[in-house]
């Protein structure tokens, strides 16, 4: 047994002292690390935990048209906040607020006594009148704060509603540009911070800190409010006249992709969006809707064939017997008995389906689809809005001669209106496909300086300048001499093409349910505007396709160019003196045609449709009789297919 000596005790005491000193040093080192190493971070975190923020909302940026016309703005509407722990007499305060805000006292009492640092008086105290806010301020109740707030206002009402969209109660963008550009428009909210104890009362002797809000940027759109106003007016007229299921129009600058106007029906007032079903404000049809384009698509086939030198419009001829047989199917022309011998320019003017089948054959499947894709179909255009459709093309490996033939005249594919506008713009502007866009300039609200600008986005060259020129000439002929005559505007050299889309549902075409459209541009020598108009299932007076949409497009083009200050041209392809100028005409033979066929035609006659079925069985008056322009032709529908030739 070893002896416990004084020396051992002494040694152990020293050891104890050393351990103690080491511990003391460790404590000091850790204290220093917490205060100097972690100090900055801890200070920030601690200040966050001490400070209570009273929010100061940033003012949302305004939305302006390209000329500075205000499309979306803010009106001042303060809100009431309370800090329950600073309220001395909750009963009185609740009574005062309930009285001035005309709200439910019980609910307000619950809010002013809520166990929370900052409470909004919801909904009675949100976005209230300045006067009421002033009254509340005058009451000087402790713990009650009025914070500057504002709400969105759309001074033009329904104008451009789908494009603008709207912002919600917290000024957060919900739909349209308000949502797409929410981050830029919203800005950064600021706040007043006061330091408080853990129970929410102000700490003594601490200054409040004010962090001013960073207001959102203003944006100038490519939209021209004058063009937009014209579009809205024309669509209102179309709605009144035809009572359609829907209607839409787009106007774009073909030289840059800047969208000048865009609208659709049914529409809504962004200030009162709750009044309509979400379907209406969520579907921006000009970019969302996908449907068969019909004959407007022939412009693509034409441009491709010209670019590939597959056709000479003046010198190549085609004999149209009224139908063409493709892979065992007979594809008919809308004109009974056919157009006979035509140049290909006349094929375009007459919108002759068999002629375009031939153009598709000459191009071949691969080339045809290459051009369709090069013109931007089958993919989103990339326009700066949410909810764009991409369209549907045949899968190329599934394309036989029949699919190629129908694609060539615009059936069996689905496209969006904005795709057509962008593609036709490329076909007539010299061959450049631009990405359509709407937000042009971003403006600092404090300095009014332009911070950021969107320049035209050229995606690719699709066809040459020469081809484009030839397309313009052909389409000007369509309007001056052919099926697009109703879009003619004297002096503005309008070019364009009618189209009829048969609506499909569940993989089947719907009977007697068409979208009739027209796409046009002007002036043909230097296009400044492309306009697309589509009317969905026009009713009341059922008319031929070119008769419904072409005049609307013509009106939009003519009035817009005038508003834009584009001078009228001296030389133009003179309008063929057609039926419009002839009071009496011969009734065409319509028997055996479908409604779709005759929508592609254009006669100054009204139709009275009787019975149901796909094909016209009889007509009255009979073909060849001479009637006055504007007379009604009664047609009787049935399912029996009649021999055409």
């Amino acid at each position: 047994m070893s002896k416990i000596t004084k020396t051992l005790v002494r040694k152990r005491l020293f050891f104890f002292l050393i351990i103690g000193l080491v511990l003391a040093i460790v404590l000091m080192a850790r204290l220093g690390y917490v205060q100097f190493g972690l100090g900055g971070w801890l200070t920030g975190a601690a200040e966050d935990s001490w400070s209570r923020d009273l929010p100061f909302e940033a003012e949302r940026g305004e939305i302006l048209d390209r000329n500075g016309e205000v499309l979306a703005t803010n009106v001042s509407a303060p809100s009431v906040l309370v800090v329950p722990r600073q309220i001395d007499h909750p009963e009185e305060t609740a009574a005062m607020l309930a009285d001035l805000l005309d709200g439910d006292q019980e609910r307000i009492y619950r809010q002013v006594t809520e166990n929370s640092s900052i409470v909004r008086i919801n909904p009675d105290g949100r976005k209230i009148d300045q006067e009421v806010a002033g009254d509340i301020r005058k009451m000087r109740h402790s713990g009650v704060y009025i914070v500057e707030d504002n709400k969105r206002h759309y001074p033009q009402g329904e104008h451009l509603a789908h494009v603008l969209g709207f912002a919600g109660i917290d000024n957060q963008g919900l739909v349209g540009l308000e949502s797409f550009y929410d981050e830029k428009l919203a800005g950064q909210s600021g706040h007043v911070s006061f330091f408080s104890d853990a129970q929410g009362r102000r700490l003594p002797d601490m200054a409040d800190q004010y962090q001013p809000p960073q207001n959102g940027m203003d944006v100038k759109l490519t939209i021209d409010d004058r063009v937009q106003t014209i579009i809205e007016r024309e669509l209102d007229n179309a709605e009144a006249t035809y009572n359609p299921d829907g209607a839409l129009a787009i106007a774009m600058d073909p030289q840059s992709g800047e969208v000048l106007g865009m609208s659709s029906r049914p529409h809504f007032n962004p200030d009162d969006y709750q009044a309509v079903s979400p379907e209406i404000y969520n579907q921006n049809r000009p970019i969302w809707a996908q449907y068969e384009p019909g004959s407007t698509f022939k412009i693509i086939t034409l441009a491709a064939a010209l670019e590939e030198n597959k056709v000479d419009l003046e010198n190549d001829h085609y004999y149209d017997s009224g139908s063409i047989e493709v892979a065992g199917h007979r594809l008919r022309c809308w004109k009974k008995g056919g157009h006979g011998s035509q140049t290909f320019l006349e094929v375009v003017q007459n919108s002759c389906n068999p002629g375009f089948v031939v153009l598709g054959e000459r191009l071949g499947t691969e080339k045809l689809f290459d051009y369709i894709r090069a013109f931007g179909f089958g993919q989103e255009t990339g326009i700066d809005m949410d909810g764009e459709g991409s369209g549907i093309l045949f899968k190329e490996e599934n394309v036989g001669p029949l699919e190629r033939a129908t694609t060539a005249f615009g059936q069996g594919v689905a496209v969006t209106p904005i795709q057509q506008v962008a593609a036709v713009a490329a076909a007539v502007n010299g061959g450049t496909l631009y990405q359509p866009f709407i937000a042009k300039d971003w403006i600092d609200p404090d300095t009014d300086m332009v911070i950021d600008s969107q320049l035209p986005i050229a995606k690719r060259n699709v066809i040459s300048e020469e081809t484009s020129k030839e397309v313009r000439r052909a389409l000007e002929n369509v309007v001056a001499q052919g099926t697009g005559g109703k879009a003619f505007v004297d002096g503005y050299r309008v070019g364009g093409k009618t189209g009829t889309a048969q609506k499909a549902s569940g993989g089947r075409y719907l009977e007697n349910n068409h979208i009739v459209s027209f796409i046009g541009f002007a002036p043909a020598d230097d296009p400044q505007i492309v306009v697309y108009v589509a009317v969905d299932n026009p009713k009341n007076t059922v008319q031929f396709g070119g008769v419904v949409s072409a005049p609307i497009a013509g009106k939009i083009i003519g009035d817009s160019l005038e508003a834009l200050g584009v001078p009228k041209r001296e030389d133009q392809i003179e309008k063929k003196l057609t039926w419009t100028d002839v009071p009496v005409l011969e009734v065409p033979d319509l028997t055996g045609l479908t409604l779709r066929d005759i929508h592609d035609a254009s006669y100054p006659l009204e139709l009275d449709i009787q019975g149901s079925g796909e094909f016209i069985q009889h007509q009255s008056p009979a073909a060849g009789e001479r009637v006055e322009e504007g007379s009604t032709v009664r047609i009787f529908m049935g399912d029996e297919e009649q021999p055409r030739d």
């Binding site: 416990i4 205060q35 330091f195």
Partner: protein
């Protein structure tokens, strides 16, 4: 045992006095908001602390002039009295429950914590027994085992309250005495192993202790629950920087820190006085450690040596644990900071103990 009495150890007395004054002032600063809130009196806690300090200083002066070896005849009865009190405190209706532990006996402000007395009684008993049976400690069965049994019975009774903090301090203090008195390192190694196992077992047996451990490892994993105290403590210390926010300028004392005047007073000191004040407090405690061990070394008898070691050991263990908790080095345990934290029993008893230490140092053999 006749030696000339030295003048009082001025350095030791200065360190004690300085810490005591800092304590009363900081208890005021830390507790003013709470006092105002709960008792409508910002001086509520500091007035009482000043009173406790006054009573404690009287105790200190008395013990300073009472030759320590004369206590030897009282230490065994004192130990029994303390055991009795530890039993009494567990009787429902007699013991008062505060903060989840049944640790108090008495009425209102005059209540005491038997476990605080037990810490001191155990030191006295161990010093007495070891100085009588100097060589027995080398034997496990005859020396160490009976002492360990006594220590663990006391510890077990304190744990019934339960008060892990005080119990751990008592055990740690006892082990320091045993170590200095010459217990074999081999025995310590075995005991250490058993102790770790026991400690782990204790922690595992009470879920809230596990939470304290995990929240110590990552307080931000549950900032409003188990991590709350340590986060609030760091929020106080971090912004203090070198010079602090200034006296009275603590933000964390405004109801963020759960008990700014007791367990977390060091956080308020480091917040208001910065690193300088925090380091100075640690330094003053280190001075007490140094002078205390010096007194133990120079004590005329081994009773004095062990008694001094026990007192200074108890003080320093509490300092290390309390500050360690506050600065996020070890899990939250609930131990007060000697001389600084608000609290009657702990302050007066600590001053009494330090009076004994001063008396021992006054009998130091001349060097």
């Amino acid at each position: 045992m006749k030696n000339t009495k030295q003048p009082v150890d001025g350095l030791l007395l200065f360190a004690i006095g300085a810490l005591l004054i800092i304590g009363v002032i900081m208890v005021y600063s830390a507790s003013a908001a709470w006092g105002e809130y709960r008792f409508n009196d910002p001086f509520y806690f500091s007035k009482r602390q000043a009173l406790f300090a006054f009573v404690g200083v009287i105790g200190l002066v008395i013990m300073m002039h009472f030759d320590y070896w004369k206590m030897r005849r009282y230490v065994v009865p004192a130990l029994f009295v303390c055991f009795g009190l530890l039993i009494l405190v567990l009787i429902p209706g007699v013991g008062l429950i505060r903060g989840g532990a049944q640790s108090w006996i008495g009425v209102g402000a005059f209540s005491i914590q038997p476990s605080e007395f037990m810490k001191l009684a155990m030191i006295g008993f161990l010093a007495h027994w070891l100085s009588n049976n100097n060589q027995l400690l080398a034997s496990f069965r005859k020396g160490l085992l009976p002492l360990l049994a006594t220590i663990f019975v006391a510890f077990g009774m304190i744990m019934l309250q339960p008060d892990l903090g005080t119990g751990a301090v008592m055990v740690a203090t006892s082990f320091i005495i045993l170590f200095v008195a010459g217990a074999k390192i081999k025995h310590f190694a075995i005991l250490g192993g058993l102790g770790v196992l026991g400690f782990v077992g204790l922690i595992a047996s009470a879920p809230y202790r596990i939470d304290r451990i995990t929240s110590f490892l990552d307080p931000w994993s549950d900032p409003l629950g188990t991590g709350f105290q340590i986060i609030q403590s760091l929020y106080a210390i971090g912004p203090g920087g070198l010079f602090g926010m200034g006296f009275g300028e603590s933000r964390q004392k405004y109801f963020y820190l759960p008990e700014p005047q007791t367990d977390f007073i060091f956080a308020v000191i480091a917040e208001e006085g910065g690193f300088i004040a925090g380091a100075m407090v640690i330094f003053l405690f280190t001075v007490i450690l140094w002078r205390g061990i010096r007194a133990a070394l120079l004590a005329p008898d081994s009773f004095g040596t062990y008694l001094a070691v026990g007192i200074v050991g108890m003080l320093f263990v509490q300092v290390a644990i309390n500050i360690g908790v506050v600065i996020g080095l070890i899990p939250v345990t609930g131990i007060t900071l000697p001389l600084l934290s608000y609290g009657g029993s702990s302050l007066t008893l600590m001053l009494v103990a330090l009076g004994i230490l001063l008396n021992i140092s006054a009998h130091a053999r001349s060097v």
